[in-house]
């Protein structure tokens, strides 16, 4: 095998999985393979996609962030909290001008990211449990802000980006694409991006080579929080409401997207390309299962089994690559 092909194996395996899924659903459902539905799939993976960009950075560093969904939720709720709500919304909120609301919400998720980063890099709490605690803290803040109510209004800009369309294309998809592209460029073409791979590939070597490992780790955690925050804000606009636990399902989806795409949980291998494939695999899987007539109770199991199959393929292909 050529060096090039071998290097590409990490992305070829998930890609094959994706092709198989698309072919399967195209054959079993008449409504699946349409342009309109392709747009659906893209919209459906957009929020996950924005979260997954940050998570890719974190996982490339061989860390994990379990607080992404909670931070998305807090930020979405916060931006609504600072927006004037309709009279029937029963929340004692603090209406501010749109830009102020957005800034405050982003500041909020930045702070939460900073707390995560401090816990992990300064105090030395493993990221798994630091972000587990942050997940609870995020849920707590969300609960305090909305107090069981639902808010609907968000600033116009957020609403445009989350629910608007430009030339027929949902802005949300464009934003997600922009985030993915930016993530890819940063990872591939900036020193910081290369440091991320170095820190994930061999933390000690990175440190010896003069990389400020703590700073890189901290930055990566904050980036993850910021991506989650943006995803949460736009998600609230997209779904039309801000409420507690709204984004809970996104934690596993985002992790699964990154990992199914072929990025290694042990760090240093993979990238945004893999994440995109992973997002598409999960997006097609979730969307496709809605298109075929299938026992609702069976769906959960099938989803789990396909996930497992994708993982097994990834691992085997990886072995082929490593031994070649």
């Amino acid at each position: 095998m050529t060096v090039f092909l071998r290097n590409q194996m990490r992305i070829i395996a998930p890609f094959a999985t994706l092709i198989v899924l698309v072919a399967f659903f195209s054959l079993t459902s008449r409504s699946f393979a349409s342009l309109d539905n392709a747009a659906n799939v893209l919209t459906q993976i957009s929020v996950t996609g924005i979260i997954a960009v940050g998570l890719t950075f974190v996982i490339l560093c061989a860390e994990i962030d379990l607080s992404v969904a909670a931070i998305a939720n807090v930020t979405g709720i916060a931006v609504a909290y600072f927006t004037l709500q309709e009279g029937y919304v029963n929340i004692a909120n603090v209406p501010l001008p749109g830009f102020a609301a957005i800034l405050l919400a982003l500041l909020g998720c930045f702070m939460l990211g900073l707390v995560n980063a401090a816990g992990i890099t300064l105090i030395g709490i493993p990221s798994f449990i630091m972000t587990l605690a942050m997940m609870q803290i995020g849920a707590g803040i969300s609960a305090l802000l909305v107090r069981g109510q639902i808010a609907y209004a968000v600033p116009d800009l957020v609403s445009l980006l989350g629910a608007g369309r430009v030339a027929g294309i949902p802005c949300l998809v464009l934003v997600a694409a922009a985030f993915l592209l930016a993530g890819h460029l940063v990872l591939t073409y900036t020193r910081f991006g290369r440091y991320v791979y170095m820190v994930g590939g061999n933390r000690e070597a990175a440190e010896y080579a003069g990389v400020n490992v703590r700073l890189v780790l901290g930055a990566v955690i904050v980036i993850s929080a910021m991506c989650s925050g943006v995803a949460g804000m736009l998600g609230v606009a997209h779904f039309g409401s801000a409420q507690q636990n709204e984004f809970d399902g996104y934690l596993l989806d985002a992790i699964a997207a990154v990992v199914v795409g072929g990025t290694s949980l042990f760090g240093g291998r993979g990238g945004i390309g893999n994440t995109i494939i992973g997002l598409l695999i999960l997006g097609v899987l979730n969307n496709g299962l809605d298109h075929i007539q299938i026992d609702s109770f069976l769906k959960i199991l099938i989803r789990g089994l396909i996930l497992l199959a994708a993982l097994i393929i990834n691992v085997y292909v990886q072995k082929v690559r490593d031994s070649a």
Partner: protein, 299 residues
């Protein structure tokens, strides 16, 4: 009537994350103040295990009466039985704590989910003139409320051969799943005339998707009739919803509790074992009045 000495009551409901439950809490506290009852809340956090722990803790304290909405049927039986055995009247709200023959609660105040489902469906079908394509979006399949509402829906559509049911997939009360499902539906089905949702939150989320694709001609029916939905009905985003009277149930629990303590009402004699607390269908016509009653915790 109002209690002379202050009473101590414990409430627990499924989870305050849900607007319906949060409104219930406000109603219970409002009626509690009027009736001189001090209400302590044990949040179930939409988690059977957490609610069980909370109710265990409730059961190890002393209360004049207790009112509970179970998140998972059957998961609270033991501590509730302990309180009943200790002579505390337990009022069951909205969802069965356990099948009624298994546990002797003071009274069971609940809406008729089947009725709510059929009433809204009936309103939708009538508007369609008995002909058209409809979709039902279900709550979590394990939820008894969802099961009742689905039953009501099915009973109505069965009577109209002109009605075609396109899809009935569950969205588990989750607005993100509703959005995903409805994006697919709008792609898959060029014609959808009406949609019935097992609650309003899901209906409003789906409306969002419909609006994004200019498919707002779909008649939307929901359940709960919380203020945002009533407003949606008033301004035409939704066609109808049916009131699931949170205030009536939670306020009723206060009143039933006070009556049990001060007037010595007994289950089955003074108060029926089971009370159906139904609410009306809300359409444009009665929306304003319904909103006012909710503002004052009347329904």
């Amino acid at each position: 009537g109002r209690s002379e000495k202050p009473l101590k009551a414990a409430f627990s409901n499924a989870g305050l994350q849900a607007t319906w439950c949060a409104q219930g809490k406000a109603a219970a506290e409002y009626w509690g103040k009027l009736y001189n009852v001090d209400v302590t809340w044990f949040d179930g956090q939409l988690d059977a295990v957490k609610q069980r722990a909370a109710v265990d803790n409730m059961a190890s304290q002393k209360w004049d009466f207790v009112a509970i909405q179970a998140f998972g049927i059957g998961t609270l039986t033991q501590p509730v039985q302990k309180m009943i055995d200790g002579g505390t009247p337990v009022i069951d709200m909205d969802t069965l704590i356990a099948p009624l023959e298994k546990i002797n609660v003071h009274s069971f105040l609940a809406p008729d989910n089947e009725f709510m489902g059929s009433a809204v469906t009936q309103a939708l079908v009538a508007k369609l003139g008995g002909k058209g394509k409809v979709i039902m979006t279900q709550g979590a399949l394990g939820h008894t409320g969802a099961q009742g509402r689905a039953k009501g829906f099915n009973a109505v559509v069965k009577q109209y051969p002109g009605i075609e049911v396109l899809d009935t997939q569950p969205a588990d009360w989750d607005v993100t799943k509703v959005a995903r499902l409805w994006e697919t539906y709008l792609t898959k089905y060029p014609q959808i005339d009406a949609a019935f949702f097992h609650n309003d939150d899901m209906a409003l989320a789906a409306y969002n998707v419909m609006k994004a694709r200019d498919r707002t001609n779909i008649l939307i029916g929901g359940v709960d009739a919380m203020p945002p939905a009533i407003n949606a009905v008033a301004d035409g985003r939704m066609f109808a919803t049916v009131r699931n009277p949170s205030c009536r149930i939670h306020g009723g629990a206060i009143i039933a509790g006070v009556a049990a303590v001060t007037a010595g009402e007994k289950a089955g004699s003074g108060i029926p074992k089971s009370i159906v607390t139904d609410g009306p269908v809300v359409t444009k016509e009665n929306a304003a009045g319904m909103l006012w009653m909710q503002d004052h915790f009347l329904i």
